[in-house]
Symmetry: C2
Subunit: 183 residues, 2 copies
Amino acid sequence: MDRRQRKTREAIFNAFTKLLSKKDFNRITVGEIIDGADVGRATFYAHFETKDYLLKEFCEELFCHIFDAENDSGHGHRHIFDCDSSKSVFLHLFQHLKKNDNNILNLLSSPNNELFLGYFGNNLEALVESHLSLFESAKEKELPPGFWKNHIVSTFTETLKWWVRNGMKESAEVITEYFLKVV
Amino acid sequence: MDRRQRKTREAIFNAFTKLLSKKDFNRITVGEIIDGADVGRATFYAHFETKDYLLKEFCEELFCHIFDAENDSGHGHRHIFDCDSSKSVFLHLFQHLKKNDNNILNLLSSPNNELFLGYFGNNLEALVESHLSLFESAKEKELPPGFWKNHIVSTFTETLKWWVRNGMKESAEVITEYFLKVV
DNA sequence: TCGTTACCGAACACAGTGTTCAATTACATT
DNA sequence: AATGTAATTGAACACTGTGTTCGGTAACGA
C-alpha cells in the first residue's frame, strides 16, 4: 500500500476518532472529517464510498483488536476457565471495553448508532456462538436457539449501554455479575 | 380546533403512516409527506416544527391507544390476575401489538429508529414501574433497581423486535412465555 | 530517471431542510 | 349573510450537506 494512502487513511481515522469523542456519528459531516484530517474532499471519497463505509472499516479495525484478542486469550486459557469459561469471556470483554482504547464507548452510548450496534452485535454473536456452554440452558428452558442467542447478545449490549450511561462506576467484575445474574 | 387544521393534520398523519409501511423513517422526506398529504410545504411546518416532532406526536397518539388501554384493562382486572398480573399485562401488550393497527411494528423492525424506540421505551418503563411485583426478585438477586428495570424494558423490546424480524409466526401467548422465561 | 498513482482544490449538480410572504380561501361568529 | 380572523397556498429563497468531476501537481516505487 502506498505510503500516501496509509497516511491519509490514518489521518482520516484520527480525525474521525477525535470527532466521535465530541459528537454523535450522525452529526459528523464529511466536511468536518476532511478539515480535521486536512485532506481534500475528493481524497476522502477516493478512500471511502460514504461516511457509513468509513464507520464500517473503522469498526472492523476496532473489533479486530477487541474480539480477536478475546478469542485468542479465550483459547489460550480455555483449560483454566473450563468450568465457567463463559464467565471469563464476558469479564474479559467488559474489562477490555473499560479501557476505552478507542471511542467505542462513545459510539455505544450515543443515540442513532444502529450501524455501529449492528457491527458490534455481529461480532458479539459470533463470540457467543463459539461458547456453547450457554446454549445448554436454552434446551432446558425450551426456547428457540435463535431467540436465546439474540437474548444473550442484546442483554450484553444493553448491560454495556446501561453501564456507560451511568458513568461506569461499577467495576468490570460487578457488571459481569449483574450480566450473568439476569442471563 | 379549526376543521382545516384537523383535516391537514390527519392528512399528514395518513400520508406518514402510508410512507412508514414502505420505508424507514429516516428515508422519508418532508417532500414525500406533503406530496402524499397534498398540502403545502409551509403548511407542514406550521403544524410540525420538524419531521422528528411529527414522529413524536404520531407516537403519542399511537401509545395513547396502546398503553393507556393496557393500563385501564390492567386496573380493571387486577383482582382477577392478582397472582401473576405481570403475565397478563405483557400478554395483553403482545396481543395488542400483533393487531398492528397502525404501523408500530414497521417502526420497530426498521433500523435507525432510535427516536421511536426511545418513546416506546419510556411508555413501557412507566408500565413496568407500575407493576412492582417484578421488582421483588430484584432484591433477591441484589441488583440495582435501575439496572433491573432497564433489563426488563430492553428485553421486552428485543423480544418484540425478534418476533417481528422472524415474521411473527408465534402466537402472543408463546412469545409471552419466552419473554417471561428469560426474564 | 521515469512512469504511475495519489492528492489537491475548486467547482459543480443535486437533494433535502426550514423560512418567508403576499394572495387566497375556509372558517366561526354575530 | 356579512365580516374579521386564521389556515392554507405556492413559489421563491438561503442554507447545509452529499457525492462527482477534472486538470494540474507532487510524491511514490521500481
